[in-house]
C-alpha cells in the first residue's frame, strides 16, 4: 500500500475514531454500577414464606479520599407489615390506595446471617435505625458495622441470608391465594450519597424508613436472581429469563438477569395466561414520526431511534378480551416515551395483571416490570369506551420506567419528580392515543381529558397549605396524592404553556438525557429548564414547587361606557374654558350624533390566589380583531383603562388555557353584553333530568 494511502487511511481512522466523540450520543448507554446482587430465593406457597440468600458487592461511589464508609444501611421494607406499630402502619392506619390491610396478613423480613466474604460475622452489629421519626418499633431500616471501612472506589462483598413472611397483599406487595407480588422483598442497600450528590453537604447514607406514602430510592446495579417455585407456577420478573432448571423436588428455578436497574421484582401465579408480542422500532414507529420528533427535539434521527422490546403480558383468566388493549397501550407508551425522552434501553417489558381482589398490588412499577390495574368489567368496554382505565394504568406505570426507573429520583424526599413527571407524560401519551378532551371518560357525551381531570383536583380551599417540595411522609392529611401527582403535572403543563411545546419538549429530553441512570433532585430540573429555555424561571419554581398556594387570576370587573365629556374649567384648543353641565350634555349629544364619541372601558384584574404568574389578556373591541397584552407587573391586582372609539365587548385571561394550574377558569372571562344561552341550556338540562327522577319515583 503506498505511503500516502496509509497516511490517508490513518487520517480516516483517526477521523472515524473521533466521530463518536463528536457525535457522542447524549443518552448514557450504561449506568455506573454501584452494587451487584446475586440472589437465590425459594418460595413456599403454602407457608407464604421466602427463603433467600444474597451475595452483594458494593462499591463506595465517593471520589473524596477521606470518604471511607464504615457501615452499610439496608431497607427491610416488609417489616412495615410486621405489626401495627411500624411507621407505615401508624401513618396509614392499615388503609392505603383504596385497600385495607387484613389483620391476619402480617409479613416481615428476618436477616439470619450477615457475613463478609472473608467469613466474618456481622450479624451481632446489626441494629434497626429510625432516621425519620425515632419510632423504636419500626424495623424497616437496618444497619451493620463494617470491621474495616470501605475506601472511595473500593468494594466490599458480603453474604446475607434472610427469611420473609409474605404479607397478605396490601400496599404494593404480598399474596392473594396463589398470586404473589414479590416486590421490595430482599434486604436492599440504601444509597450512599457522596457530598455534592443531590446537593448533599456531607456524605452519608440515604435510607429512609418505609412510610405509607413513600416509595423507593436505590442505586443502579446488576441483578442475577434465581427464583425457585413449585412447577405449576408461572413466573414473571425483572429482566430477561436467562436460564430455567427443572428440579428433582418438583420445583422449577427461573434465572433472571438485568443490569442498569435499581430494583428487582417478581411475581408468580399458576393461573397466569402468558402472551408475548414485540414492539418493533421499525414497524410501530413511522419514518415521519421519527423525523417529526427529531425536528421537535433538535436531535439527529439516530438519537431518536428506538429499539425492539419483547413485551410479555401475564394476564388473569377471564381478562383475555383485554389482551390487545394492554399490548396497544404498552406499545403506545414505548413509542412516545421513547421518542420524547430517549429509547427504552432494556430488552424486555413485563406487564402483570394481579389476581382479582389483589388491588393493593395493582398500578405499581418496578424496573422492566409493572403491575397493571384492570378488572372483568373492562372486558366489555373496548378502547373507545366509558373509561380508559386499563390503558391509563398501563401508560402511567410504564411511564415510571423513565421517571423512577431510568431517572432515579428520590421518591421518599421528592415524590413529585417521578409521580408528577409520569402524570404529566401520561396525559400527553393518552391525548395522542385517545384524544385531548376524552382520554379519561368518553360516554354519552360525557367527556374528560387527563389534564382536565388533574385540574378538577385543584380546589381553592384545600390546596393552600402544602407545597410540592415536601417529603412524601410530611404532607398534611390527604395532600400527598394531589401534590405528588396532579399538581406537579399541572405545574409542568403550565411551564409548557409559558415556554412553548417545542422548548418544553427539549427541556424534558435534556433533563432525561442528563440524568438517565442518575439521581437528580428538583433543583437539577430547574437548572435544565433555565438552561434550555434561556429564561429565568426561579420565581416560577419558587411559587409553584417551593411554596404552597394556588394560582387564580380573575377578572374582577369590566365596564365599557361612552366616555363622559370633560366638565368644569378645562383646556380646549390651548385655552381654558368652562363647560357647564348643559354644554357638556350638548357636546356629548353632538359626539353621539357624529359617532365620534369614545368609549371608556375599565378592566379590573385580580390574583385571587397566592401565586402570581404572567397572564395573557385578550381584549375584544367592537369591530376589531382580538388584541393580546401581557399582565406581568407582578402585582396582585391591576386596573386598566382604555378610551377608544370602540366598545370593549369581551375580555379573556389566559385565552389559550396555558395556565393549567389556574384553579378557576370560569372567572377568567367577562363580556359586557350577557348571553344566557349556556346557562339556560344547563338549567333546562337539569330540569329535564330532575323531571325524569321525579317520574321514576312515581313510576
Amino acid at each position: 500500500m503506498p505511503a500516502h494511502s496509509l497516511r490517508a487511511t490513518a487520517a480516516s481512522l483517526a477521523f472515524l475514531c473521533a466521530l463518536p466523540a463528536l457525535a457522542a450520543p447524549k443518552l448514557p448507554e450504561r449506568a455506573a454500577t454501584v452494587v451487584a446482587y446475586d440472589i437465590s430465593v425459594q418460595l413456599d406457597p403454602e407457608k407464604k414464606e421466602l427463603n433467600g440468600r444474597e451475595h452483594i458487592v458494593w462499591r463506595n461511589p465517593s471520589t473524596d479520599p477521606a470518604d471511607a464508609v464504615s457501615d452499610l444501611w439496608f431497607h427491610l421494607y416488609w417489616n412495615a407489615f410486621r405489626n401495627n406499630r411500624s411507621t407505615f402502619f401508624v401513618e396509614s392506619g392499615g388503609q392505603l390506595r383504596r385497600d385495607k390491610a387484613e389483620t391476619d396478613g402480617w409479613g416481615w423480613t428476618e436477616i439470619t446471617a450477615v457475613k463478609l466474604a472473608t467469613g466474618e460475622n456481622l450479624l451481632p452489629s446489626l441494629t434497626f435505625e429510625q432516621p425519620d421519626d425515632d419510632n423504636a418499633d419500626d424495623r424497616t431500616v437496618a444497619r451493620v458495622l463494617l470491621p474495616t471501612p470501605v475506601p472511595p472506589g473500593g468494594e466490599i462483598a458480603l453474604d446475607i441470608e434472610f427469611q420473609t413472611k409474605v404479607p397478605k397483599v396490601f400496599a404494593r406487595a404480598g399474596y392473594k391465594g396463589d398470586f404473589f407480588a414479590v416486590t421490595q422483598w430482599f434486604p436492599k442497600l440504601g444509597v450512599y450519597e457522596p457530598a455534592g450528590l443531590r446537593g448533599r453537604e456531607q456524605s452519608g447514607w440515604n435510607c429512609h424508613q418505609y412510610h405509607a406514602n413513600s416509595e423507593y430510592y436505590a442505586d443502579y446495579g446488576r441483578f442475577k436472581v434465581e427464583i425457585t417455585v413449585p412447577k405449576r407456577f408461572v413466573v414473571g420478573a425483572t429482566g430477561p429469563e436467562t436460564a430455567r432448571r427443572e428440579n428433582a423436588d418438583g420445583t422449577t428455578t427461573y434465572v433472571h438477569q438485568q443490569a442498569d436497574v435499581h430494583d428487582f421484582a417478581w411475581t408468580a401465579d399458576p393461573r397466569f395466561l402468558e402472551y408475548r408480542e414485540t414492539f418493533s422500532a421499525d414497524r410501530d414507529v413511522t419514518p415521519q414520526e421519527y423525523a417529526a420528533t427529531a425536528k421537535l427535539l433538535d436531535r439527529s434521527l439516530e438519537e431518536v431511534k428506538l429499539q425492539d422490546v419483547a413485551i410479555r403480558l401475564l394476564l388473569q383468566p377471564g381478562h383475555e378480551p383485554q389482551k390487545d388493549r394492554h399490548f396497544a397501550a404498552a406499545k403506545l407508551a414505548l413509542k412516545w416515551y421513547g421518542l420524547w425522552y430517549g429509547a427504552y434501553p432494556y430488552e424486555t417489558l413485563t406487564l402483570v395483571d394481579p389476581t382479582p381482589g389483589a388491588g393493593g398490588a395493582a398500578g405499581v412499577e418496578y424496573p422492566t416490570l409493572f403491575f397493571c390495574g384492570t378488572n372483568y368489567l373492562y372486558n366489555f368496554w373496548p378502547g373507545k369506551g366509558l373509561l380508559h382505565e386499563a390503558e391509563i394504568v398501563t401508560v402511567h406505570e410504564f411511564g415510571h420506567q423513565f421517571w423512577y426507573g431510568l431517572v432515579g429520583s428520590n421518591e421518599f424526599e421528592e415524590a413529585w419528580l417521578d409521580e408528577g413527571f409520569t402524570t404529566y407524560s401520561t396525559a400527553k401519551v393518552l391525548e395522542i392515543g385517545y384524544g385531548r378532551d376524552n382520554s379519561i371518560v368518553d360516554f354519552l357525551g360525557l367527556e374528560l381529558g387527563a389534564v382536565e381531570s388533574d385540574r378538577m383536583q385543584n380546589s381553592l380551599e384545600s390546596r393552600r397549605y402544602d407545597k410540592i417540595a415536601t417529603s412524601a411522609w410530611q404532607f398534611s392529611r390527604n395532600q400527598y396524592g394531589y401534590n405528588a401527582y396532579a399538581r406537579p403535572a399541572l405545574m409542568l403543563e403550565t411551564l409548557e404553556g409559558m415556554l412553548g411545546t417545542e422548548t418544553m419538549a427539549r427541556v424534558m429530553r435534556t433533563y432525561h438525557e442528563r440524568f438517565r441512570f442518575g439521581h437528580p433532585r428538583g433543583a437539577d430540573f430547574f437548572a435544565v429548564a433555565e438552561e434550555v429555555s434561556g429564561q429565568q424561571l426561579d420565581s416560577f419554581f419558587a411559587q409553584t414547587v417551593d411554596s404552597p398556594g394556588v394560582l387564580d387570576p380573575a377578572i374582577l370587573d369590566l365596564t365599557s361606557e361612552p366616555a363622559p365629556q370633560a366638565r368644569g374649567k378645562v383646556m380646549v384648543d390651548g385655552a381654558e374654558v368652562e363647560i357647564d353641565e348643559k354644554r357638556a350634555a350638548e357636546l356629548e349629544g353632538e359626539a353621539d350624533d357624529s359617532e365620534s364619541r369614545n368609549y371608556r372601558s375599565i378592566l379590573q384584574l385580580r390574583q385571587r390566589g397566592e401565586m402570581i404568574l404572567p397572564v395573557e389578556v385578550e381584549l375584544l373591541f367592537e369591530g376589531k380583531e382580538p388584541e393580546r397584552r401581557l399582565w406581568d407587573d407582578g402585582q396582585r391586582w391591576a386596573k386598566w383603562e382604555f378610551e377608544r372609539p370602540e366598545k370593549l365587548l369581551e375580555v379573556r385571561l389566559d385565552p389559550d388555557g396555558k395556565l393549567a394550574l389556574d384553579a378557576d377558569r370560569l372567572n377568567n372571562t367577562r363580556r359586557i353584553e350577557p348571553d344566557p344561552a349556556a346557562a339556560r341550556k344547563l338549567a333546562t338540562g337539569f330540569l329535564f333530568w330532575l323531571q325524569q327522577g321525579m317520574a321514576l319515583l312515581g313510576m
Binding site: 378557576d664 349556556a678 341550556k681 330540569l687 330532575l690 312515581g698
Partner: protein, 301 residues
Amino acid sequence: MNTLTEARRALRRTWRTPRLVLLLWSAHLVIAGIAFYPVLRHLDAALANAPAGDEFLRRFSLPLLSDLMRAGGGWFQGLGPLLLLVAVLTILWNPLAAGGALESLLSGDPSRLAHRFGRGAGRFFGRFVRMGLAAVPAALLVAGILAGPIFGVRASLDDTAEGAKFWLGLAGILVALFAILLVQLALDLARIRVARDDVRKGVRVFRATLRAVLRRPWQVLAIWLPLALVFVAISALYLGFRGLLPPSGGVILFALVLAQQLVMIARAGLRVALWSGEIALADRKWPAAPLASRLAAGART
C-alpha cells in the same frame, strides 16, 4: 288478549284524556320548578357574562362544572335540601295523582276533569299513602327473597371467580329491581281496586293483590313491558335529536327544551296508559262486586 292489542287500547284511551296527561306533567313541572328556578337564576348570574361558560353549549364539561360549583361555594350546598324538598313533594304528590287519575279514569261522571281529579285525590289520599307505606317493606322483602340468594351465592365465591361474581352481582341487582317493579305494579292494581270499589281496607287489598301478582307476574308485566319499550324508543329518539342539534342558543335551545318537555309529556301519557291497561286487567281479574256486597265489605257510597 294480545299484549300489543292491550297496549294499543291503553294508549288509545290515554289519547282521549289529554288534559289528564297534561295535568300530571304540569304538576311535576311545577314541583320541579322549586329547584329549577333558583338554579336558573344562579346559572344566569354565573354564566351569562362569562364567555368561558359557553363551553356548556358544546358539551357537558365536568371541569367547568367543577369550577362553577367551586365558584358557587355554599350555594350548591343549599341545592341538596332543595332537591330533598322536591323529592318529598313528589312522594306526597304521587298518592294524590294516583287518586285523582284513577277517579278520572274510572268514573263515568261527566263533570269536569278538575272536579273528578280533586275528588279522587282527596278521597283516596289517606288510603293510598298507607298502601304506599305498606309497599316499602313489601318491596324490600320481595327483593330480599328473590335477590338475596343470588347475592348470597356471590358472596360465597372466591375473588378469582371474577366473571361469575360480576354476572351474579348484575343479576342480583336486576332481580331486585324486578321485584320492586312487581311490587309497584301490584300497588297500582291494588289502588285501582280500592278506587273502583271504594274499599276502606286498602292495605289488605294490596297484600292480596301482591300475592296474585307474584303468582302470575306476566299478566301485569304484559301491560308494562310494551309501554316501557315505547318509552325506550322515545328516549332513543330524543337522544338522536339532541345529537343532531348544533351548539347554539336561541331557536335551537328552544327546540331542545321543547323536545325535553315532549318527552316528559309522553312519559306522563305512558303513565296514564299503564293505569288504563291495569284497570282493564283489574276488571278482568277482579270484576267489580255488586254494590250490596261492597256495602257489606265496608265501602263508602
